[in-house]
Each structure stands twice: as C-alpha cells, then as structure tokens.
Amino acid sequence: MRKVLMGNHALSYGAKVSRAQVISAYPITPQTEVVELLSKMCASGELKAKFIKVESEHSAMAALIGASSVGVRTFTATSAQGLAHMHEMLHWAAGARTPVVMGNINRAFAPPWSVWTEQNDSLSQRDTGWMQIYAQNNQEVLDSVIQAYKVAESLDLPAMVILAAFVLSHTSETVEIPGQEKVDEFLPPYERKYKIDPDEPHAFGGLTDPDNYFELRYKIQKAMEEALEKWEEAGEEFESIFGRKYGLLETYKVSDAKSLIVSSSTIASTARNAVDRLREKGEKVGLLRIRVFRPFPAEKIRGILSSVGKAIVIDRNIGFGASGIFYQEIKAAMYNEEQKPPIFGVVTGLGGRDVSSKDIIEIYQDVIRREEPKSDIIWKGLKL
C-alpha cells in the first residue's frame, strides 16, 4: 500500500508492520508524531502491543530492556536531549544484549535550545554498543526499522534508525508500506534463548569480576563485526521480497570518479544532486553514502576510497576539540592503507542550517583547488 507519510510516521509504520509488542516512549520534539500514531494504533487494536507511557526517556529504555529480556519485540523513539537522558540505559541495552529497536530523530543539543537537525546526539552515543543506521528518505526509514529487527534479533544487539529532524521527520513523501504477510515472511517472531522466565530462573547482569568481564565485552565486539555481514544478508533478502536494495554503504557514480564526496543522511541525498550537476560540468566526482555507521564498514570503505584521488567528508556534527566525526572515522580506516587519498573534512549545517546542492558544489570546488588538507576542519557556511 502506498501512502504519503512524514518520516516520523514511517517509523511508526515500521514498528507496526514489524509487530512490536511492547512500546515505551516519552515525548520530545521532533519525535512526538512517532508515538502519537503508535498510541492510536495500540488504542484501536490495529497494533497488538502494550504501550507504557513513561515519565522519562531513561524509563522508556529501561522498560524496553526489561521487556526485551523477557523475549518480546520492543520499540521506542526519541531525539537529542531524550537520547542523552537515556545514555545510561543505552549501555545497559547493549550489555544485556537486548535487541531493542529505536528511532532517533537527529536534533541539535541545548543550550542554546534548538529543535533543528544535527548528528551530535546519535554520534555521541557511538560507543554504547548500538548499531546505527542513517536513513536518507522516508521509505528507507520504514524499511530500515524492519531490517533492524532482523539483524538486531539475530545477534542480540540493539539498533537505532536515525533520521534528520524536519528534513525527514516532518517532510511527507510517498512511502510503500509493505504487506503484513511479506513482512512476516521476512521477520519471524523473536525467540530469545536466555530470557526472564520463572520456569528457568537465572540472574542477569550480576557483578562480574575481571576474570569474566573482558570476554563478555569481546563478545559484543564480535557480534558487531558479525553484524556487518548480517546487514548485507538482510539487505539481499529484503530486496528479494520487497524489491528495494540496501547495503552498508551506497555508492553513486564512483566507477570512474577521481574524487568522492562522503556523507550520510539527507546531506548525502542532496549531494547526489550536486554530483549530477558537477558531472554536467565535466567533473569526475562520485558519492559514497555511509548508511550503517555502527558497525563501521571500514573494509568496504577502504575498498572504495583507496583508488580515488581525493575524498571530501561532509559532517553535520562536530567532535569538539577534534573534527567532524565521520571524517575522523574514515581517516582512521584509511590510515594503514598504502594507497590512500588525501581526506578533507568539512563541517557544515550545524543546528539545522540548510545545506543545499549549491553549498556542496562550492565545497567540492573549494577542495579540488587544494592540494592537501592543511587542517582537520574546513568550515562551510560559517558567518564569521
């Protein structure tokens, strides 16, 4: 069924067709529509789930960790301050190996108050053990929720589907809502091996001394590494059932490209337009979009970037005191390669400032004139 949906409702429908069983959330702009629609679906019986209307995001995540540990499918959504308020429980979800799936609307942190898009909220949760998927349109938002359950439940790792505030969350696009039968075929009910069950009593998460803790952390890392393959397998299976293809990365006009723009989320979809316009002017430029950021597809990125002349990483985020965060990760991934391009890092669009196709063309034209990156940040659009 095709429907015009805002990104937030694409998340709700994603949870619905995935048959989420326990939902718990706390409202925050610009996430509210996600949970409003889910509340309605639960109230009408359209979705057979229990909705726990908690008093904070910390509680939302705690409730889902509890529910997931019993062995049911769980969903929540949040943004910025809400995600930060969850922080303690994000670590808990990963450590308890609960495959919670969450939508996060990328919004800038306060102070000063801002409701507009920026990636610092999700990227500051980079090391919590959550998988992170950055979607570029509303169809991908919905499809990624379904895939996230598939991958998360196969490895008992939590997953975050991330979309840009307003640019996607409140922008309506035509979205194909997959039929329930097909989704059920792709996504069987969640079966948890070790669960909270009075018939088989276990304690979960007890005090673990240095003799045992290390290996448990190793296991999270191993699961993350395995997740790289799982995302690709899920993408292939998804394509065979639904006809839409997704991978860890997306490339656009890279085969003959001398320079590559590397970005994520909606900046990457704007960059596609910029690449077309630059190509019209004879520039050999392509685009690499990072879709799955955790686990980080370093090997795949190396395979693509090692043969190009220049890489331009555009970040709508900043690691204060260092540089753009995608830039840091990509540079680190390339460091041990013999053949590698100079990598330029651009920080732009913070606090939701618009990043247009024209801006990206200007970024490209600026970088192409430079021989080597003299600093870790090229600021674009700064009015100082």
């Binding site: 008992d156 070790y194 276990h202 304690a203 979960f204 673990t208 003799d211 045992n212 296991k219």
Partner: protein, 106 residues
C-alpha cells in the same frame, strides 16, 4: 533450579562463556560458615521449638527437622554450620536461652 557447584565458576576455553552475564549456578560454593567468629550452639534440653531462631536467621542456615516431643510432632531447629555466619541473632532472640555462643577456635 540453579546448578550446584563446589567452586566459583570462571569461564575459559573449556568452559564456554554464555552470550551475556547469565547466572546458572547457585552460591553454595561460598561456605560462609568460614566467616564465623562465634558459634551458636542449641541446647535441646532448653529448646521449646518455638522457631524464633529459624524465622530470624538471615542466612536460612537453620534447618527444620521433624521430631516428636512428648508424643507431639514438632519441628526442631538445626544449625547448618556450613553457612551460619555467626551473627548471633538466634542467640539474642531465643526466648528460652537455649542458644549459647562460643568463640570459634582459630
């Protein structure tokens, strides 16, 4: 029920680590009787089998044994010295002063 084990379990190549911190084993390896500085001893001649000691023991280290006193079936409290930490609550609480406390030998 949790599996019993005589010692604390440490995972290694032979003993496979579960996917996350799940407990499968009891705490019985931890013989808390070794913590005891003072040993409570029940004088059954004075014991009225009121079971206040049993109710008050934080360790569940007082067990009940069915017995007959003057033809009546009663529960007799028996201290499990493997786990009794020697806190002395039973000694303090016993209404018939049937429990004495003795210093443990080194």
């Amino acid at each position: 029920m949790a599996k019993k084990s005589d010692k604390k379990i440490i995972f290694n190549k032979e003993k496979k680590m579960p996917p996350f911190a799940i407990s499968f084993y009891s705490m019985e390896y931890n013989k808390t009787g070794g913590w005891r500085n003072f040993r409570p001893v029940i004088d059954y001649d004075k014991c009225s089998c009121c079971l206040i000691c049993w109710k008050s023991c934080p360790e569940a280290a007082i067990k009940l044994k069915k017995t007959k006193v003057k033809g009546k079936e009663k529960f007799k409290p028996v201290i499990d010295y493997e786990y009794c930490k020697g806190c002395g609550i039973c000694w303090e609480e016993c209404p018939t002063e049937a429990i004495d406390i003795e210093e443990e030998a080194e």
